[in-house]
Amino acid sequence: MTAALLLATAIAWPVVLTAAFMVRRLRAAVVVLAPTLALPALALGFAGEPALELQVPGLFTSMRLGVDGIGRAFLLLTALLWTCAVWHTASYMRADPRRRAFTGFLLATGTGNIGLTLVQDTLSFYLFFALMTFAAYGLVVHTRTADALRAGRVYIVMAVLGEALILAGLFGITALATDATFAAVPDAFAVMTRPGLVATVLLLGFGVKAGLVPLHLWLPLAHPVAPTPASALLSGAMIKAGVLGWLRFVPAGEMSFSAAGITAMTLGITATLAAAVAGTLQRDVKTVLAYSSISQMGFVATGFGAALLVPTAAPLMVLAVAVYAVHHALAKAALFLAIPVAEGSRRPLMLVTAALPGLVLAGAPFTSGAMAKAALKSALGGETWPVPVDLLLSVAAVGTTLLIARYVSLLALAPARIPATGSNRGGQSSRELTVGLVAPWALLVALSVVGALWLPWVLAPLGELPLATQPAYVAGALWPVALGVVLAGGALLLRRRYPAWTVPSVPAGDVLAVVERAARTLHSVGAPLARIAPGHAAARGWYWLEARTGAGLDRAAAAYDRAAAGPALGAIMVILAVLLFLALR
């Protein structure tokens, strides 16, 4: 009962806050209360026992709420991140004139994000997912700079594309499902004529949010321009919503989706490697992190793809995916929140602390990262793959390490050297380090570093995590990190030695330029086409005809009248009579 009440509160409280924000009088109060946004959800995450169900008939398409194993993991990470980020925002945004509006969008986005972890039916999931997606636009374009608006444009286009694809998939499922619950999804797929198609569509649809290459275009643009807490949430929590979408809508393990699986794995592995390269060559610290996210989600995609391909491996894969999701969320959020802190102080201790979650991310031994990689590898290990997946992933881990090195080096640089972007308006020199600014970051760092200790507990309902303490695992986890560090050091030395060398740089959003050119061409072709108006042409044609024939008609009539005044009429009369006579006899 209390659990049910908690569940209701967890979803109601954000809604209430968002609604209250709409009322001008309450706005100030709401802004103060904003950090409590996710607290009920957090409490639920820790307290709620799995498989808790609550149905709200009448609302929307009779909404179903509940917490199950997988949902709990995402609920926890979401609630944690939101609590920390919004808390952080309060002081991060102190100087910002548009602080309130930002909070408003934050609340709406949070409502969506938290809501989608709590619902148990596809339609409501889509509802909250859409809310999150579109409200987040306000976060991306917050600064209204040219970059921000461009990023916003790309973001919204991709978002709409994603929503549309998800909608199509939703049609496919709902049409055959007995009801809208997630429980009914597998049965729906079982009776589908083309389950593979639906699965692929959904994979891509949620892939936009999950930063699946090549649908990742918005990520490297949105992150640098959005205020840092927003970036943290985008990369930490919202990306995971896409992953949750995969897990909820595509019944991995029920059947084998070869097409979708191969797609996911290929794209995933490509992402892990390519994103690492592209990211290392970035100049903006937040862009680097964005690419790191893309690369990390590559791992997740690989895992999910494997699950789609090999139903037997699915349970382990799902577990691995969940671990990845949670630990990446925490680590990435911590890395982002470090940036404003760094703007306040660049003492070595701080930089080292900031780097720690990076190591977790890279999968250093005895971290949750290592645990995640172990889970992934052990799951993959059961099968034989055309490509050395194992090796590739380790290489990717090296890339991750390099990314982190790049991150730290950029973080260490004086702000003046950091190109001016939305994240630090005009490279403002320093921030005042307040509790509100530091504490959330510190908390996240702590949680992420000791992740290995508590994640198993969180994910217990999904299965037993391999404690990655065996020497093999340790070695397997250690060498990529070590290699990465060495390479990074080498790079640093080279740079010291030959300052003249310039690192080639990749434009943020790599292939985006191509896409944009294509879009422009398409528009220039499409616009004239859209101007064709058959219907109206018909009307115009009629008027033209009228104008043309009218005069002729008058002339004909006049001529006939004149003729009829003379013998012609008589002749006509006779002709008529003759005709009639002939026609009558």
Binding site: V141, A175, T193, P534, A539
Partner: protein
Amino acid sequence: MNLIMASSWLPLLVLLSSLVPGLIIVFLEEERVQLRTALNITGAVAKIVFVALMLYGVTHGHTYAWSLPVMPGLRLNLVADPLALLFVALSAALWLVTTIYAIGYLEGSPNRSRFFAFFSLCVTATAGIALAGDLFTFIVFYEALTWATYPLVVHRGTPASVRAGRTYLAYTITGGTVLLVGIVWLYALTGTVTFVDGGFVEAAAGGAVTETRIIFGVLIAGLAVKAAIVPLHGWLPVAMVAPAPVSALLHAVAVVKAGAFGIVRILYSVYGVEYATLIGAAQVLAVAAGITIIYGSLRALAQDDLKKRLAYSTVSQVSYITLGVAIVGPVATLGGLVHLMHQGIMKITLFFCAGNLAEVHGVKKVSELAGAGRRMPFTMAAFTIAAFGMIGLPPTAGFISKLYLGIGAVQAEHTWIVGVLVVSSMLNAAYFLPIVYRAWFEDAPTGATMGEAPWKLLVPAAITAALSLGAGLFAAMPVSPLELARLIIQRRYGL
């Protein structure tokens, strides 16, 4: 008991509740504002009451019928079956808000008596179309609607509006005549015109397939003009010169809806979608609707004039209804029928808001919308809700219609329709989101006038916006349009 006693008169009363005020207003001088307003509002409220009574009765199993012999074998039949109620409820509800809006919109302008007189006649005709129990009654009110609307279209009296009126009539009268020929032909073939759930053509003339095919084509061609199916949609964007309440009427309450409703009737009560599919007519219609949906959206994309953009959006949106009923299967029909209502409430909101923008700040173009959110927050909030509805975002009404259309398409295994729906959703987003963006994320030009619209213009928009949201958010509630549509489907398919 009382209900049952009044039953046979209720349909007639629904008509009279707007006809009588209209006829009185004709003879009213311009100055009698109070009386005129009183008449309008009383009539509108009365209509809603009557409709509500019938709604109650029908949900409890009554059917209301009133008829008047016109010619041997043909009667003026007013029948309130659930399908009729769906439409009449929509028009009744929207008539009230539109009347309030029009009163506010036309304050102090000339020829208001004429305007409101024809306004009422227009709604009477619409109610007649909705309640028509056979094709004869239908065509009678259908043609009446054409002429009752003309004075509203040309209301401003400018050469431009008179030209628009000419185009309007050129299209609609031709359509009406074609429809009449089709109806008479069908009558000559089958000997009956009375609507039957599931259609009567197969039973009466199933043998003459070719002929029924041709007749179907003729009927639809006639109706497609008002339903603005490409390439017969040309009048709709041109009619934009009319005052905002009229546009609202054209797009949401009366004319376009009459066309769409007619198509629904043909498929639902005359041919029966199964038979129409059997003779391959429904598929063709569905394709036409699909083309219209995409084409309308593309055209809307290119418009800078706000009302023109909305007009093309109507062209696209109304064909959802056609698409829905042209697909075999209960769910698709459900989607089409419920969209009949949803499109109405959403589109009327958009036009109210467009009217407010033009009326209060003289903003008529999309390019002038910068900062509109700041300038008139409530209006733009309503607009945004409706726009999201048009895109089909949850939890708005638009999502519900789109969802059921999509499900129906999949169940009928028309994957291409899913494609159409998805593409059109994206296109809708492409031409609505920029408006929302300009309104909320751009700053108003310096020296732009501020200030919200007067309440008479604001309240209607607020109400309809609330409806557009509520119809989706509480779709599962027993009183929602969805449930009403479900009632029809159950009656038809006995689910």
